[in-house]
Symmetry: C2
Subunit: 461 residues, 2 copies
Amino acid sequence: MSAIQPVLDRLDADLDASLERLFSFVRIPSISTDQAYAPDVRRAAEWLVDDLKSIGFDASVRDTSGHPMVVAHHEGPEGSPHVLFYGHYDVQPVDPLELWEDDPFDPKLKEVEPGRKIITGRGSSDDKGQLMLFVEACRAWKAVHGSLPCKITLLFEGEEETGSPSLKPFLEANKEELKADFALVCDTSMWDRDTPAISVGLRGLVGEEVTIHAANRDLHSGHYGGAAANPIRILAKILADIHDENGRVTIPGFYDGVEETPSQVKASWDALNLTPEKFLGEIGLSIPSGEKDRSLLELVWARPTAEFNGISGGYEGEGFKTVIAAQASAKVSFRLVHKQDPEQIRAAFRAFVEERLPADCSVTFEKHGGSPAIQLSYDSPIVTRAKSALSDEWNKQALTIAMGGSIPIVGDFQKLLGMESLLVGFALDDDRIHSPNEKYELSSFHKGQRSWARILAALTA
Amino acid sequence: MSAIQPVLDRLDADLDASLERLFSFVRIPSISTDQAYAPDVRRAAEWLVDDLKSIGFDASVRDTSGHPMVVAHHEGPEGSPHVLFYGHYDVQPVDPLELWEDDPFDPKLKEVEPGRKIITGRGSSDDKGQLMLFVEACRAWKAVHGSLPCKITLLFEGEEETGSPSLKPFLEANKEELKADFALVCDTSMWDRDTPAISVGLRGLVGEEVTIHAANRDLHSGHYGGAAANPIRILAKILADIHDENGRVTIPGFYDGVEETPSQVKASWDALNLTPEKFLGEIGLSIPSGEKDRSLLELVWARPTAEFNGISGGYEGEGFKTVIAAQASAKVSFRLVHKQDPEQIRAAFRAFVEERLPADCSVTFEKHGGSPAIQLSYDSPIVTRAKSALSDEWNKQALTIAMGGSIPIVGDFQKLLGMESLLVGFALDDDRIHSPNEKYELSSFHKGQRSWARILAALTA
């Protein structure tokens, strides 16, 4: 540990300056799903390149057919491993804006209780805050030692929140440049505010937008009500059919490839003793909505879901309008586990909808990304070393857990670059990522930087 | 008929000028449901008052707690009946604006096929065009004879499209002033472009907005999917439960007060020979969506409905957002017939929703108007005389029909002022009222003016 202590000291001394850097980065509204923000997405990429060059990385903005990638390289000592670190610099939309207590793009440090501070803003956690931890660890290491402990490549994406359409082509086109001994992926969470965690299971995702088309124009519900097909009624019926009374998804073949979680893994999750009251209580709920007779952690880590992420149709404004809409649509997503096949699920969903459509109506589908689930090793040497480094920093045994969310890049690294990933992140479940009032704990920001420095030391010792 | 011919001639000669007056009126965007347009609603009321004063009416804008009323009086010959004519000068919203071929508030006269012209614009039919017919008939009568054939009171409302919240209090507060021998109501349709009609049945309406509240904030569907209640899923299930597989409404007690249509009335409707292909074909549909084993005219004229007029929740923007929303809501309306009780239906609907709500979620309701159905006489002397006048003008037997829409004022006139109504209007089913590209036939505008002049003559002969 002789190399690491001065790096940790340097990170402590540089904390205020590192916060200012994060604030500058968060101020750029790099919302990837809305084309109106495309210039801001590019500006965020350029901001990263400038910062990485200042540390000594060979960094550049790399165009794609969508938003650009940022790629940066730094050499390491002869014989050291080559590590690829991945993060994303795009962010989710901010609507409904009126629910934000602070400007989402004017980040602040706020004391929320004595001794506990948070960083506010869209992207403060997902993923600008998380990715800057590693950049800060590199900056401090370089400042103290004049070098880095291993060869490091950074890959920062600007389309993660829109299903990463350009990522696979980019990986394929730049295989030789990007292939490393292993990848570090930072887009994950801690178990709780004091307990670091490494994620070894990730759910996959299939996104679909379904639009039911009925009459060729909006209709007056008095003249046509009782005679004309109502697309909201048709859509509601189809969505309602997707779950049975036990919370199981009824789409034929949906559970193909779903495995039972090994009993010892289940037992380790049960030992975490996370009750529905605790997990759901902080968001104002208490009853698990998924399959009955499954534990809460099974539901969010090891069972697939069908969720309705948005619905719209007819008159949604103030007051009332007695209209029968011409169309209605829903955004539907499926979280996948184990060996479920995304494209098989997509096809089964589309067939399920089409079977339920009245003969005089039609349906259109829009594809929004698809990726299978990931299952990584619980006990590889890299996982064991990283657990030890995290346990040292947080003074608490690091956990190996699964995650309900999807990080498709981990599968792409496996398939396209033949490279396993180590998933370490410092977000918390209450960070409100994708929601109004996103935040990042200052403790995550500070000890997260130190954690990455320790992990780099452990992996290259 | 000596008094009427010069009035008809005058209407023919004044047609262009009457069109210009309607255009000025339509140019005022008097959208009552959106408070942003409140000044325009008032401006429309003032426009009417100015026009009516120019004819010699004692006209004024009358404030309410919502949008104002316009009331105007004109004396008639000693012993003549007193007639109250009702219309509304507010209009529906215009969204989605991009679907309009012409500016909704810049009306035009367009030739759509040889010999057939239409008037474009929001309100051109519903109800500015329809109410101006009667005003033009009065103007011509006054110009020719220097007087009107009977005592006439005009009542024009600015809140019809928002459930008329101020109407009842206004009628109650001004009973003596407004009570007449009978009312003329113009907010109805012809059977087809060449066949005039008198409406004797009107469906009632109950409007409800239901919002399902689940988590206390929007959630990431990866972290919480499978565990947290999804309000879109809950709402879709509740809406789907409202109809059974035969199209019947399943809310307990919903059909209380619904009567079977007399067989001779049903037979007269069957004789009109309106097929689903004809009625629904022009809107791109072909299969009646309501109760099976009912004729199409029964479905729209004599059976109650549950319709979903709007739905919203979660992310509705461009792209995709993997969110579980905190809430989702729907605008639901019920068309009522015969003796169904609006408040009983509202209560039954609310109980139906509450019974289906998970214990950790909540629901809020917003009331949007309620009125019972109306059944008028098929063969009173007034109906008989008006039918004859209409048949003379259109050179075709006028029909007595029912209507799928709601005109709550007819019930209010019955209950509060003890006054029956005669319902005559010249709209067509394809006028696209409440939709983009609303229009009014020039033939309706011209022959409608002449029809009202003939009806005034017939009723006062």
